[in-house]
Symmetry: C2
Subunit: 222 residues, 2 copies
DNA sequence: ACCTGAACACCGTTCAAGT
DNA sequence: ACCTGAACACCGTTCAAGT
């Protein structure tokens, strides 16, 4: 019980306590996500960070899942949608998707989240709207546009989610890489031959190539 | 090992109790996953299904994460790798990826699992080895093969994981679809125009097109 | 070596009660 | 309307103790 109602001194002794709101909850939650990842996030920790009990959050949020969806959409507000002046449709599409990936990689767990929750928040919709528009601008017929947009965003999200999964493993000396490097040339000749190429490149380089592959593929497939 | 030692009567009083083993644990766990999905799975339920306490499982399994990785790899044993006689590399690659998707969709939560855990089990490796081999057979140079294999499997896994996420939402009348259908033509003209096409097709039809797009794109992108 | 009861340190969610 | 203490029904994991 910390409410001293009208006292000024009480404010000074507790200067940071803001009133609860969806916004404050989202900020606190994204803070925890940034610092501790998806594993470290819990409703109870969010409540504790806001100096209250877990039950209090249910006034503003339906449940954990919907909190996660709100967090994702708030984070997606940082995705930059290039203006029409910034080049051709293909260049702008690529820029947009790179921005999307950058945002998803900027906070751990966001990739996983994007794949798990079907966000229909305003920022998700803004992104979808833009991708659909750019593909249509590129002259791709409407039957392909819907599936193409799905593939493109899925690829970005999947790369981010995979990166999250990789980060989550703090095994001694990257055990997955170790395993692949130790693969026998007799039983798995292709893995063995390509073992060095399998881990080449950053997520950014990979997504650049992936986007090219996808756009070229979409243009060449009826 | 089904050692029932010597007593017959003890078996009759406890007829179903098999001795613990990694195999029995995996079977019980996959059973629960099939019936209740990833949300419904817990170490404690697996233990209960095997008529023991949760602590007992730790003799056979490091922790929940490694149990999940073992479950995934066991399930991937059902993926069919087409023999060399079954057609050209492209056809065989497509068949393999379809089989992969089919397996991932056959048990709820498997798609999510495949994306979350970096399995280096024998069946994952068998699949990777085959995909690498087929791409090389197709004349794709080694620099592209590694990334291409990654893209292809990521696409399959992402489609399965997305399907899982969609299944997990039992919202009244598919709220995501509802939301998109209700989008204003003024603020989101492209979404509005394509609203019917966005949900067209089964995962199987989509993955068929996606695989074509990816292979065509890979062939056309240096 | 294998198994387990009990405990530890957590969860999300609900609900009656307070303001 | 907003907030909360307390409880409920769960979790994964550890550990001393048993066989």
């Amino acid at each position: 019980m910390k409410t001293q109602s009208s006292k000024i001194l009480s404010r000074r002794s507790r200067p940071a306590k803001a009133p609860l709101s969806v916004d404050a909850i989202l900020s606190a939650a994204l803070d925890i996500l940034t610092r501790e990842g998806l594993e470290g996030l819990s409703l109870r920790k969010v409540a504790a960070a806001l100096d209250t009990g877990p039950a209090s959050l249910y006034v503003y949020v339906d449940n954990l899942d919907s909190l996660l969806a709100l967090m994702l959409d708030r984070a997606l507000g940082k995705v930059v949608i290039p203006s029409r002046a910034k080049g051709g449709w293909r260049e702008r599409l690529s820029t947009l998707l790179h921005s999307y990936l950058k945002v998803l990689l900027s906070i751990p767990g966001l990739g996983q989240l994007a794949l798990t929750t079907m966000s229909s928040g305003q920022n998700s919709l803004r992104g979808l709207e833009a991708v659909l528009g750019l593909l249509r601008e590129g002259g791709i017929d409407d039957d392909r546009v819907a599936w193409a947009a799905d593939m493109l965003s899925l690829q970005v999200v999947a790369v981010a989610a995979e990166q999250d999964a990789r980060r989550r493993q703090a095994d001694p000396l990257d055990s997955f890489e170790q395993t692949l490097n130790a693969i026998s040339a007799r039983t798995h000749p292709n893995i063995h031959a390509l073992r060095e190429k399998l881990f080449l490149g950053t997520p950014r380089e990979r997504i650049r190539w992936a986007i090219d592959v996808l756009i070229n593929g979409i243009l060449h497939t009826p």
